[in-house]
Amino acid sequence: MLRLPAWLMLVLLVLAPLSARAQETDDAYAALAGSAGIPSAAGFDSVRRGVEQLATSGDPRAAVVIGALQAGQLYARADRALFIKQPDGSFVDARSGAPAPDAAGLRPVRLNNAVRSAIDAALGSLRLFAPDAATRLAAAEAVFKSHDPAALPALTRALAKESDAAVKTRMQQARAAALLSSGDASEADRLAAVAMLRARGDIDARGFLASLSGQPQSVATAAAAAITAIDRQLQLWSILQSVYYGISLGSVLLLAAAGLAITFGVMGVINMAHGEMVMIGAYTTFVVQQLMRAYLPGIYAINLLLAIPLAFLVAGAIGVLVERTLIRWLYGRPLETLLATWGLSLVLQQAVRSIFGANNRDVDTPWWMSGATQLGGLTLTWNRMYIVLFAVLVLAALMAALRYTPLGLRMRAVTQNRRMAAAMGIRTPWIDALTFGLGSGVAGMAGVALSQIDNVSPNLGQGYIIDSFMVVVFGGVGNLWGTMLGALTLGIVNKFLEPVAGAVLGKIVVLVLLILFIQRRPRGMFPLKGRAVET
C-alpha cells in the first residue's frame, strides 16, 4: 500500500502530546487528504468526515480551508500535508497559511456529492461562529430555513458562546426548528420549540409549522394553535402596513394638493399648470444638487434642506409672474382659466424638456434619508417617513401663514369680500399675485419631496394633477383640514384596494368611487357654509 508510511506518520502525530481539541483538528486535516490521487469510496468518506470534524473543531482556518475545498483549490501532498492554491497560482500551507516554497507533487482533493453537501452544511454552521454579528444572524437564519437536525450540535455550542441578544434569539428559533425536525427530541422540548416559533410569529415560522408531520398529538395541537395565532398576528401587521403605505401615499397627495388648496381652494383659480410647478420644484432640487456637488461638496449632505426654500422661491416667483401676466385677465371665467393654464403647462413642460432634455434626471437621496427601519412586523422606509413629516410641517406652516401673518389676514379678507378689503386699503391685485405665488411655491416644495420618490422628468407633474384636483374637491374646496383628510382617505383607500384589485384596477376603482362621491356631495366632505357660497 502506497500510503502506509503516511499512516505511520499520522500515528506518530496522534501520539504526540497534544490537547484533545488539537488532536481532533489534526485528525480532520489528515482525513481531508483522503480523496487526493485515485478516488475511492473510502477516500471520499474520509474527506466527508474531515469536513464535519473541521467544521466543529473551532479551528480559525477552518472556513478558509473548507471554502478552498469547495472551490477545488485544496491540494494534498503525498504525506497528507494540505495546501491551498492561491488565485495567482502559488501555494500556501492550509494549516498555517504560510507560503509553501515547494509545490511539487501536489494532487487536488476530489469531491463527490456526499462531500459537497457536507461542505455546504459545514460552511453554514461555521458561519455561526463568525466574528461578525450580521454573518452569524444570516447563518442562524439559514439553519432555520434548512431546519437540518445535523446542525444541532453546532447550534448548541454557538448558543453557549453567543452574546448578541438578537442573534441569540434567531439561533434559538433555528434550534427549535431543527429540534422539531429531528427524530429523537422529547415531547417537552418539542412543545417548547413550538412556543418559540409561535413567538417568532412571521410567515416563515408559519410555513415551517404548517409543514410539520409525524409529531406527537400534543405537539401537533400546539402547532395548529400557533399557526392560528400567527395568522391573526400577521393579518394585524399587514393591516398596519397598509395603513402606513396609505399614510405615505396620502402625504404625497397632500403635498401635491396643498398648493392647489390655496390656488383653487382659496382663490378659485383652476390652475392646470399646478403639476408643472411641482415639476419645477423637482428640477430645482436637481440643479441645487449639481451646483453643490461642484462648488460646495463639503456640505453636500444638506442639499435638500437648501433645495426646499429655493424651490419655494423659484416656483413662487414663476407663480407671481403667471398671475400678473395671465391669470388676472381671466378671473371669473374658470373654464377659460382652465384652458389657458393648460396651455401654460404645455409650454412649461416643453421649456424644461428643451433645457434639461427629455430623459429622467438623477436626483440623489441623502444618506440620512435612505434605508429602512423595522418596527415589529412593519418595514418603515426613511424617505417615506421624512415625506410624511415634511407634509405635516408644510401643512402646519401653511395654516399658520394664513392665520397669523399679516399677509394671511389680507388673503382671507380678499377671499371673503374683495370690495370691502379694497375699501379698507388692501391692494387686492397684489394680494392675488402673492396668494397665487404662495400656492405655487408650496407646489415647488412638494416637488423637492417628490424628487425623492419619483422620476424627475418633464412629465412628473402630469401624473399628479388629476389626483390633486380630486383631493381638493373631495376634501371640500377652501378647507385645508379637508384637504388633509381627503388626501389621507384617498391614500389609505387606494392602498387597501391595491392588494384586492391590483394597482391599476385599484386606482380605477378609487376614481370611479370619487366620481360617484362628487355626485353625492358636489362640494366635498367639508363644504364651505355661509354667505361666501354663492350657488
Binding site: L338, V347, V414, V512
Partner: protein, 373 residues
C-alpha cells in the same frame, strides 16, 4: 333655410372631399394634379377630428358643459369599430387563428371573451359604435346632472372619467389589446383597407357623416329645445324657476354629443389603421376643446374650422419643427383665451348672434363662484 356659414361649410367639406377623392382616383400617379393617398388619409383623419370638435361644441357652446373627457367617447366608438376590423382579419393574422385575434393568442387565451361576440357582424358593430358611448354618457350624465354637478367640478370629473378609462384599457386583462391596442387591420366589408379606392371612399363617407352631424346639431340648437338649452347655459337657475328641468335638457344633448363623438371615432380607426389606449389620454380631450375655442365656441361651423386649422397646423409644425409644436399649441391655448374669446368665427361674423357675448363680469375670485361660461 340655412344661413350662409353653414351652407359654405357643407359645400366646402363635401366638395373638398369629393375633389380630393376624384383627384386621387382619376389621375395618374405621375400627373401634377394627382393627390397622393397619404393626403387622403390625413384629410379623413381631420374630418373625424372635426366630428369630435362638433360634439364638444354642442355641449360646451350650447349647454355650457365643458367636457374634458370627450375623447373617451371618440375612443370607445373607435374601439367598437376596431373590434369589428379585428374579427375581419380571420386567419390572416400572424398566428393564423380564425377565432382569436393575435394579441389573445399571444396572451394565451383559449376562447373569445363574451364582449367580443357579435363584432364579426358589421351591423352589430355599428350599433355598438352608437350604443357604447351613448350608454356611458347616459349613465354618467344622469348621475352628474341630477345631482347638479356643474362648471369646473363637472370638467374635472369628466377628466377623471377618461383617465380611469385610459388606465383600464392599458391593462392586458381587459381584452382590448392592452398597450398596443388594436391594429393590423386587413379589410372592411370585404374591401382592402389599404387600397386607394377604399381610402377615398372612407374620406367621402367621413365628409357625409360630418355634414349630417352638422345639420343635426344645427337643427337641435335652432329648435325650441335648443333655445331652452341656451337658456340653461346662460342662467341655469332662472331656467329652472321658469319650470324647465335643465338636467333633462343637458342629458339629451350630452348623449347626442357622445354618440356624435363615437361615430367620429369609428370612422377614424379604419383611416388611421390603429386604436390604442393613448386616445383616452386627458390631453386629447383638452386638445379637442381648444379646436373649438380656436374656431369659435357656440358656432358649430367654427368647431369644424378650428379642428381643421389646428390639426393642419399640427401636421405642418411637427414636420417642420417637431420641438416647437408644444410651444405653439400652448401659446395657442393662452392666446385664444386671452385675445380671441370668440375664435376665428368672431373675426368675421358679426351678424349671427349664436355666439354668446363674452361676459363682462367684475373680477371675482370667490372659491365657490361658478360661471358656466
Amino acid at each position: 333655410m340655412l344661413e350662409r356659414s353653414t351652407l359654405v361649410a357643407l359645400i366646402v367639406v363635401l366638395g373638398g372631399a369629393l375633389l380630393l377623392a376624384v383627384l386621387n382616383q382619376a389621375t395618374a400617379a405621375a400627373s401634377a394634379m394627382h393627390v397622393p393617398t397619404y393626403v387622403i388619409a390625413l384629410a379623413g383623419k381631420y374630418l373625424c377630428f372635426a366630428m369630435l370638435a362638433l360634439a364638444v361644441d354642442l355641449v360646451w357652446g350650447f349647454a355650457g358643459i365643458l367636457s374634458l373627457g370627450h375623447a373617451a367617447f371618440f375612443a370607445l366608438g373607435g374601439y367598437a369599430m376596431g373590434m369589428y376590423l379585428m374579427r375581419q382579419i380571420g386567419t390572416r393574422g400572424v398566428y393564423g387563428n380564425a377565432e382569436l385575434p393575435d394579441f389573445m393568442v399571444f396572451l394565451g387565451w383559449k376562447s373569445l371573451p363574451w364582449f367580443w361576440h357579435g363584432f364579426e357582424w358589421f351591423g352589430f358593430a355599428m350599433l355598438m359604435v352608437v350604443l357604447v358611448p351613448g350608454v356611458l354618457a347616459l349613465v354618467f350624465g344622469y348621475l352628474a346632472f341630477r345631482s347638479r354637478v356643474t362648471g369646473v367640478y363637472l370638467s374635472i370629473i369628466t377628466q377623471a372619467l377618461t383617465y380611469a378609462l385610459l388606465l383600464a384599457f392599458f391593462r392586458n386583462d381587459m381584452g382590448f389589446g392592452g398597450n398596443n391596442g388594436l391594429t393590423d387591420f386587413k379589410d372592411i366589408l370585404g374591401f382592402n383597407i389599404q387600397s386607394d379606392a377604399t381610402r377615398s371612399a372612407l374620406l367621402v363617407i367621413s365628409a357625409i357623416a360630418l355634414c349630417a352631424q352638422l345639420l343635426v346639431a344645427r337643427f337641435v340648437v335652432r329648435s325650441r329645445f335648443g333655445k331652452v338649452l341656451i337658456a340653461v347655459r346662460d342662467t341655469e337657475a332662472r331656467t329652472r324657476f321658469l319650470g324647465y328641468r335643465p338636467e333633462s335638457y343637458k342629458l339629451v344633448v350630452w348623449v347626442l354629443s357622445a354618440v356624435m363623438a363615437g361615430i367620429g371615432g369609428a370612422l377614424y380607426v379604419p383611416q388611421v389603421g390603429i386604436i390604442n389606449p393613448s386616445e383616452f389620454s386627458p390631453a386629447n380631450s383638452i386638445e379637442a376643446v381648444i379646436w373649438v375655442a380656436v374656431g369659435g365656441r357656440g358656432t358649430l361651423v367654427g368647431a369644424i374650422i378650428g379642428a381643421l386649422l389646428v390639426n393642419f397646423g399640427k401636421t405642418w409644425f411637427t414636420g417642420l419643427l417637431p420641438e416647437f409644436w408644444l410651444y405653439a399649441l400652448g401659446a395657442l391655448f393662452i392666446f385664444v383665451t386671452l385675445f380671441l374669446p370668440r375664435g376665428v368665427m368672431g373675426l368675421f361674423t358679426r351678424r349671427e348672434k349664436l355666439a354668446p357675448e363674452p361676459e363682462a363680469e367684475t373680477p371675482t375670485a370667490s372659491a365657490a363662484h361658478e360661471v358656466t361660461g
